[in-house]
Amino acid sequence: MTINKPSGDTSHLYDGKVVRSSAPSRKKAAGQVGSGSSIPQDAIPDVAIPSFIESLLGGPLVPKMKFLPPDKMVQNLQIAVYGVLVALALLTYMISPPEGTMWYLVTGSLGFANLIQLVVIGGATVCGFMGTLKRDARLSLVSNLLFILAILRFASSKTSLSSDVLGLQDNPGMLAVLVVVYSVLLIMYFELNNGVIRYSMLDTSIRTNEVYVMNPKKIVSKYHRSLVLNPIIATALAWFVLSANSILPWFVGIFSEDTATRMRESVELTSVYGVALGTLFVFIVVGILFGLNLPTHLQRFRERRAE
């Protein structure tokens, strides 16, 4: 190939010729670049290689974004978080007595387990408060994990209360309502907590012109509406799902009253497995509806109706 071949000695071609070799004038060359040829430094894209942990979590552990001071929407959300946080902390303490907690299993001491449980709930509350105030996602995440840790109990089939101020222990229906309300509060806490970060990011992005929001009032009002409606709907639906073990005998009763009676009296159906069975039944139905692409059909129906 021509590429690697030397082109041959051509020095004879220079014989008799004056070969000029002038050194460049560095002094003259020391000109400064004018504004015309300068390249903006930020035109160079930053290459951020995520660490192993970051790649697992799908993003940076420490948020790079510095939030601007919170606007009214974020402040309102923060206040809502504080309210939910206090209620959640109280309810968590109420429905998670030290018996059955992992601290009790490890130490075998009720007093010590109670103390640790209080520390965990207190830690979750403080972290949640600080996370919301500082809008630090890491503290909020710690708070969420501590709340989950506090509610994990390794005993008992029935709900028991650590402090029964309202005398609900003997009312299974109210106890179930309390747990459902607790669950909804827990999810709302997760959501509001996350909302503070999300809307802080959005607000900062809007104010730094990274994002343009058209008609922000409508977008915010949709969120506010969901914050009220979704917990109500979730409570109602959850109540329905959790009552499936009661609804099932009623449904079976249409065909056979004897079987329905046997089901009502069945220990299994009234136990946690009954709840699980009912839930499974409901979610199979939901799964089938999703499998049949109900949301799309629903949307088409809404579109047609809007036409």
Binding site: A155, L242, V272
Partner: protein
């Protein structure tokens, strides 16, 4: 599509549900069920958005209501399809909702990452009413040459809590070209030793047969009497003749090294960026002088623009330079062997390269010099770029700099006009340095 949040909530619910069943703890099962219900409701409400959309270019759009293939339609219009580096491009994105229902959309128009949004935003959160359309305008700054494409437009609809979303890419693309920016050159000190006589050509600032006055000189035997300047004779008492500028044009050959190694350094400060800008500036200057300019860009292939004159030629050259991509490793010798038979003897050759990783450079340039070509080499130093970007330590820099200086010295010994072009040096200064001024 599940978001990370919904996936974590879902996992938590499954874990609690299974743990609750294992431990026979109805409390955990209840919490899990509530989370499931919450997620199901969000999925039901969030999934309503079937963004069955299509995108078309604004120019192709003819109908009053857009393409009736989906609910969301995107169209885009650019202020210009060609610009120079650091130029600004105004983008108008037109979003239409052909559905009878309002939609809250998250729209992101994808912009090449080297570009900066100067005004407006390419990321918009909007509530688009039924059968409504909206215009989104933003301006991007294009700091680097190249062929670029805007798009696709990504549209996303999600539930209020951001648990589930549906995303769709609307394949609306607009291509545009960013030419390398040019420096105004007053003088390049590059002239052909064998200029071509050309009717109606411009002056090349050398005495010779022409129409424009160049200078006065003493009369020598053989000079035409018609050339005698009698006024000057009357003033000085010596016979003086008028010298005229030589009307001629030259063939100028610009060779741009676009091998992979030419891109060593930061993306906006490397040898290829400097070389393309220099080639564009030189081409503009020489074409303005009505010379014929040919450009050869080599990397993984030898791309050449045949010598020609005029504005059209400048546009052709700029297009080729805009598309120069750092690729391949063709030695200069191959390029020289290929072009040597086609270049007029004595044509000035300007070679723009960082002179790295090519052992044939010395031989190739020797071949040019042996045939009496006037060779000018401007060598943007990749070492400086790398050192400035702190990717090279002082010792490594010094060693490589010494090697580079040795090579430059060797080339200078061949009679090549060469300049080690440092990053902060203007092209005109570098050229003057190369030509020994």
């Amino acid at each position: 599509m599940w978001s990370r949040k919904s996936a974590m909530l879902g996992s938590l619910a499954v874990a609690m549900y299974l743990l609750g069943l294992t431990l026979r703890n109805s409390q955990l099962v209840t919490i899990a069920v509530v989370i499931f219900v919450f997620l199901t409701w969000a999925a039901l409400m969030g999934n309503h958005a079937d963004v069955a959309a299509s995108g078309r270019r604004a120019e192709e759009w003819t109908g009053e209501e857009g393409v009736a293939l989906g609910n969301v339609v995107a169209m885009r219009k650019l202020s210009s399809a060609r610009m120079f580096e650091d130029g600004e491009l105004n983008v108008t994105l037109r979003m239409q909702n052909t559905s009878a229902l309002p939609k809250i959309l998250e729209v992101r128009d994808r912009v090449p990452e080297v570009m900066r949004i100067k005004e407006g935003a390419n990321y918009i959160l909007m509530e688009l009413g039924p059968r409504r359309e909206t215009y989104i305008e933003y301006t991007v700054e294009c700091p680097l040459r190249g062929f670029y494409s805007l798009g696709p437009v990504t549209v996303r609809i999600q539930d209020a809590f951001g648990l589930f979303h549906k995303e769709k890419e609307l394949h609306v693309y607009n291509d545009f070209l960013v030419f390398p920016k040019m420096e105004d050159l007053k003088e390049t000190f590059v002239k052909s030793r064998v200029p071509k006589i050309f009717t109606g050509a411009v002056n090349i600032r050398q005495p010779g047969p022409g129409s424009e006055f160049y200078s006065l000189r003493e009369y020598f035997e053989g000079d035409s009497f018609r050339a005698i300047n009698w006024s000057a004779y009357a003033r000085s008492g010596k016979l003086m003749v008028n010298e005229r500028e030589r009307d001629a044009v030259s063939d100028i050959i610009i060779i741009v090294d676009s091998r992979a190694v030419a891109e060593t350094g930061p993306v906006s400060r490397n040898a290829l960026v400097y070389s393309t800008r220099a080639a564009a500036s030189l081409a503009k200057y020489f074409l303005g002088r009505r010379d014929s300019v040919g450009v050869i860009v080599y990397g993984d292939d030898v791309v050449s623009v045949d010598r020609d004159t005029g504005k059209k030629q400048l546009y052709v050259i700029l297009t080729k330079l805009a598309g120069a991509v750092a690729r391949g490793n063709i030695p200069l010798q191959v390029v020289v062997n290929r072009i040597l038979p086609h270049i007029n003897k004595g044509s000035p050759i300007i070679f723009l390269s960082n002179l790295e990783e090519d052992p044939t450079i010395v031989n190739a340039l020797r071949d040019f010099r042996a045939r009496d070509f006037d060779v000018t080499v401007l060598s943007p130093s990749s070492l400086e770029f790398e050192f400035d970007a702190k990717r090279l330590d002082r010792t490594g820099y010094e060693v490589m700099k010494t090697e580079r200086d040795v090579l430059i010295g060797e080339l200078r010994g061949l009679g090549v006009n060469i300049m080690d072009w440092e990053p902060d040096m203007l092209l005109s200064t570098a050229l003057a340095g190369a030509r020994g001024f």
